[in-house]
């Protein structure tokens, strides 16, 4: 290492020792060699990371792509019957997959906007209170550090109707002369309601955290200026606060979409592992079933489903980014 540095030292200021400042060409060549050496060094430093990424990220991604086009691939014998679009055709005609796609889209479309909006309202509230602000911030952040499965179990118990009890939620509903509804084994809309309720509850803390800090970072002086100019509170919010925190909102929406499309563990937490029979499977859940579930052992179908999910997420993210660029403030 040290020898290397010494060798480089004279190169670093190539013009000075030569004593002939007019000889531009050799100076140029030297520095171009230097750049080459430098970039070679940079690649050398990057090599370990690139190797790991290549083996554990790029290779599996390509492999999944390959599997998805191999008909009846068997991972044990490493054999397949042939190549083609068969896996895609199968998956796209599988009623379980279509149900999973429908479920996923409903969850995404309901939970992402609603959770972001709720988080914004909560953050605004948190930002405007002075006393006990930290206490409330902590309370709102607690769900983030609790375990999804444990909380899912609590949700299930709260919503479940059994022969012995109607559950907490149905008790509340009975006050309003409604119910009882079986939210866990009952009608589809009830199950979907619990699912969305739970998903929003789970993703809310992180969004509240991000938005509270985004709101706090808006310089107070803008509001002062706006007040002096007679700006109403509503207009202050729509014309100052929102544009100023819009990058953070877009960040949350984009990551929210991606996260919601990849939902699986939340569903398991409430409806158990047999999501297909509950009619509450998601795309990732379908991929899992195809690999390891009771009907599993079909990596080709799983690969095809995963790539369809990838295509969907990719498309939505590109649309999101385009939109955010269009309305971006800077």
């Amino acid at each position: 290492m040290s020898a290397n540095v010494e060798k480089q030292e004279p190169n670093r200021s190539p013009v000075i020792p030569s004593g002939k400042p007019s000889s531009g060409a050799p100076t140029y060549r030297k520095s171009s060699a230097l750049t080459k050496l430098k970039s070679l060094k940079a690649w050398l430093y990057l090599l370990p990371a690139l190797v790991f990424l290549g083996i554990f990220m790029v290779y599996p991604l390509i492999d999944v792509l390959v599997y998805s086009f191999e008909e009846g691939y068997n991972s044990a014998s490493q054999t397949s019957f042939g190549t083609g679009w068969f896996n895609y055709a199968y998956v796209l005609h599988d009623p379980y997959f279509l149900q999973a796609v429908k479920n996923t889209f409903i969850i995404v479309i309901i939970t992402v906007p609603l959770s972001t909006l709720l988080a914004l309202l909560i953050s605004l509230g948190l930002n405007s209170i002075k006393k006990l602000k930290e206490v409330f911030q902590t309370i709102f952040f607690l769900p983030y550090v609790t375990n999804t499965l444990a909380v899912g179990l609590v949700f299930m118990i709260m919503f479940k109707k059994t022969p012995y009890t109607d559950g907490l939620i149905n008790m509340i509903l009975s006050i309003f002369k409604a119910g009882p509804i079986d939210f866990i084994d009952g009608p589809y809309w009830a199950k979907m309601f619990v699912m969305c309720f739970y998903t929003i509850w789970v993703v809310l803390p992180f969004k509240v955290l991000i938005l509270t800090s985004a709101l706090a970072s808006v310089d107070e002086v803008y509001y002062k200026a706006a007040r002096i100019d007679g700006t109403s509170r509503f207009r202050q919010f729509t014309h100052i606060t929102l544009p100023m925190i819009s990058p953070m909102i877009f960040y949350l929406v984009i990551t929210g979409f991606i996260g919601a499309f990849k939902a699986y563990s939340d569903e398991v937490a409430i409806f158990g592992t047999n999501l297909n029979s509950a009619g509450m499977n998601t795309i990732v859940g379908y991929v899992y079933d195809m690999l390891y579930g009771d009907s599993g052992g079909y990596p080709s179908y799983a690969a095809a489903a995963a790539l369809i999910l990838f295509a969907i997420v990719f498309t939505i993210t590109v649309i999101n980014l385009l939109l955010s660029k269009k309305t971006s403030i800077r």
Partner: protein, 377 residues
């Protein structure tokens, strides 16, 4: 429009919660800002001048006292409805809006009968932009402009709704030296053109002196002197005002009045004509740099008579237009102060001289009580 304060007071709880005593940012202000004038609130940082400004615009509510715009009591009117325009130190331009939209922002807030059409807003915004000369920048975003340009946009935004009062908080502090001089003239011109009563806050005495019609010198929440810049400079009410105004600063010595003579050390610097009947006492003596009249020749005794005041010559700084004579004196208020006399560059001084001798211009000599620091003479 006149602005009148009656016993205006603002107290804040102490930041350090262990200290019970409140901080008095503004202490019983009672004075009137005349209509259509440019008034500078001048004081060192932390003297409460920004609080005073916030009280005028309504961002702070006073602990005691009233504020009147002409005859209207506005003390309880919220900032939104006071109709003042304010330029913040950081300009507070909305970064996501271009110049045109920034300037139009206050107009879009108008409701009911005052509501304007888009064309009216555009033309008012253009008019404001014309006053501050930024018509060609209307489509820029704030971060695409220099500090001076942003400043102008901020002024245009404050002016566009034709406020009754224009307030400027440290308007020049974020600008570089050259732009500062240019912009302060600009502020004066805009104020002249619009005739809006304007109050600005600054800690830079030169800034305040150069453009104000009236300056208010503040310290620790209290007003020390109000007057035209030249009056305040020529007739400071107390030692603080004398020290705060003027560059280079006034030279302060300890001395005494004894039997109708004004003495610094053993030198009698001014006699009966100046001291009159002031009783004997210890005093501070302030002499403006331009109050020294250099005695040329050896020991200052060109005509066989030495000057009334002498100091140890430290350096001579030639400025071209005039010359600074830097000297020290045994009776400085703060020991080891490098005093500065400004004399005409026609004066010839031997740089190797040990001592330097001066006569004094009595108009530039101020005597303050040592006890109260109030001006005696």
């Amino acid at each position: 429009m006149k602005i009148r304060f009656e016993g205006l007071t603002k107290r804040f709880p102490n930041r350090n919660k262990k200290i019970k005593a409140e901080v008095v940012a503004v202490d019983h202000f009672t004075f009137e800002i005349p209509d259509g004038k440019l008034v500078g609130l001048l004081g060192p940082s932390g003297c409460g001048k920004s609080t005073a400004l916030n009280l005028i615009c309504g961002l702070e509510t006073p602990t005691e006292g009233r504020i009147f715009f002409d005859e209207d009591d506005v003390t309880d009117i919220p900032a939104e409805s006071r109709g003042v325009g304010m330029v913040f130190q950081s300009y507070a331009l909305y970064p996501h809006l271009n110049v045109r939209k920034n300037i139009m922002f206050p107009l879009q807030n108008l409701k009911g009968e005052q509501k304007l059409t888009k064309e009216q807003m555009e033309s008012k915004a253009m008019e404001a932009a014309r006053i501050v000369q930024i018509e060609e920048l209307m489509d820029r975003k704030p971060n695409e402009m220099s500090g001076g340009q942003q400043q102008r946009v901020a002024i245009a935004r404050a002016l566009v709704k034709m406020p009754r009062v224009l307030l400027l908080d440290e308007p020049l502090s974020n600008l570089d030296a050259r732009l500062r001089i240019q912009t302060r003239e600009e502020i004066k011109r805009i104020q002249n053109e619009t005739k809006i009563t304007t109050v600005f806050v600054t800690h830079d005495q030169e800034e305040a002196m150069s453009i104000s019609d009236l300056i208010v010198v503040m310290k620790d929440g209290a007003i020390h002197q109000i007057g035209k810049p030249q009056e305040v400079y020529d007739q400071p009410a107390n030692l603080f005002v004398a020290k705060f105004l003027g560059t280079p600063p006034i030279n302060v010595f300890t001395g005494r009045i004894e039997g109708g003579k004004l003495l610094i050390g053993d030198e009698e610097i001014l006699g009966k004509d100046y001291v009159k009947d002031t009783p004997d006492q210890e005093v501070y003596i302030g002499i403006r740099p331009e109050g020294f009249v250099l005695r040329e020749g050896k020991d200052g005794a060109l005509d066989g008579k030495a000057g009334v005041f002498s100091g140890k010559l430290l350096a001579i700084e030639v400025m071209g237009r005039d010359t600074s004579v830097v000297f020290s004196h045994g009776s400085s208020e703060i020991e080891g102060t490098r005093h500065r006399a400004i004399v005409s560059s026609d004066n010839r001084i031997d740089p190797d001289s040990e001592k330097v001798f001066f006569d004094l211009n009595p108009k530039k000599v101020f005597v303050f009580s040592k006890e109260s620091q109030e001006r005696l003479l």
